[in-house]
Amino acid sequence: MTTFRKTIRLIVCFIFWGGLTRVCFAQQEATSLNMLLSPGAPGFVLLGVEPSSVERPGNVTDFGLNILNNTNGLSALPQNYAVEVAPYWLFGHPYLSYNDYSGDNGVISTVEQTFSISLATSSKFEGAVDTLSTGMGIGVRFSLLQGQIDVGFDNYKSKLDSVVNDLGGLNHKIDSVYRARSAADAMMSELSNARTTAANRNDSALVALIDAQRTARDGELRTEAENEIRSQNQSQIQQLKSLVTSIQLRRLGWKLDVAGGVVLDFPKQSFDNSSLTKEGGWITGGYELQNYSLLAVVRYLVDAKNSAQTNLDAGGRFIVPCSPNWTLSGEALYRSFTNQSNSSSWKFDVEIDYTLAKNSAVSFTFGRDSQGSQTGTLLSALNFIFGFGSQRP
């Protein structure tokens, strides 16, 4: 098939998926696109078990777990796992202000904040004797472009303003209570007078002792004020917390992610027999609008065992939020091999994503696979995402 015909076929695929999802426009509501479902970890892609080939850029949590159940009948226990860590967010950043985070702070800051490392495993039976082997994919991923925060999405800005307003109310209360206690505290008054006397006598040792006592007493007054405010404002604090957890962040505009990694195979599950079998890199980019998103990927995978299997993938994905919890997407991926004797192939799939609860989501993928010997076979996968450490909104 000529390149032109292949291109036309690709465009037709996009149009087909766009028409299929037209129903969703009529009843869609804004949803947390940024936080709905991290795509499969890069490790899954390298292992060839990714539920969707065109990954959604930009979902980061400090620690996440993917469980992928990729079977024809969805009857077996999960066989594929991945953990992903974003190192930047494991540590405190005292000088990272909210404005720095939400604004455009340059590529370096974006890379730092979105860089993640993933470790994925996939077990499968291989060979004529059906020997169980395990593959381990080690991947990295980061964003070059993240888009801009959609301040109008789900009343994002007004909710943040309400949060600030509520914080102001609490801050005013605790500040007033603390200063009143401090002003009325007899011990603080005595310590202050004693310090003045000691300083006038140049008694540095006594001054130091008084400073230590004053520090301790001041800490006690702060703690007492906090306990009082927390006790008297439990419902307000809980409402503030609920407001914060209801905030959903979405970034629109141009997105660009870079990912890559390597695969180690452990035939017969023997550590001593491990070998590097695959390596690759890919770029995922696209544009996200309020009502839909269009993404594309170009990927190059090198098969260290069989150079004839080295391939170049190109594809796209169309994503439509149907409701606050549901997202529908469709993708098409064309695979060609550097060795012309290998036939190129297509992968098509539809994915349904559902937010289970805070910090967890599930996706179901169904379609036509094109992975190696599985070309043309049914692709059916159930993928669970859990974010540990920090809670996803």
Binding site: S97, V164, L167, D175, G219, T223, V244, S390, Q391
Partner: protein
């Protein structure tokens, strides 16, 4: 890391940075008393949301200001003997992290002072109350 105290100004340094797992600090801040202006800065980190109130003695300098604060307190001669109170309330709004940090910086005295207080919260939306008290001596 060495702590600069009122009784050993010879050991002072330009900046003293410490990250301490605490939400309050109290400091006797030594002034030069030569008319040097004092500058007070509050920085809320980890991309969290917070507000700050600053009071000098009984006079309010800033009330519930969102985000970072930078103030000229005044000439050290004029504020000697007073107390600088600061209250900062922060909410964890970031899904990426549970860390909250507030950095307090006071300059213009015998030595500059800077300290970061931090606390990790249990859940998204949790509130942390930070406080700083400076006895200007």
């Amino acid at each position: 890391m060495q702590t600069e105290t009122a009784e050993n100004p010879k050991k002072s340094r330009q900046k003293e940075m410490r990250n301490i797992m605490s939400t309050t600090l109290t400091k006797a801040y030594q002034l030069k008393k030569d008319g040097t202006p004092l500058t007070f800065t509050v920085t809320i980190g980890d991309a969290q949301k917070g507000v700050t109130s600053v009071t000098l003695g009984t006079s309010s300098l800033v009330s519930n200001q969102e985000g970072d604060v930078s103030l000229n307190i005044g000439a050290d001669n004029n504020v000697a003997g007073q107390t600088l109170y600061c209250s900062t309330t922060v909410a964890d709004i970031r899904s990426e992290t549970k860390q909250t940090d507030v950095t307090y910086q006071l300059t213009g005295g015998v030595s500059d002072f800077q300290q970061t207080l931090n606390e990790s919260v249990a859940n998204l939306g949790d509130v942390v109350f930070y406080g700083a008290t400076f006895f200007l001596i």
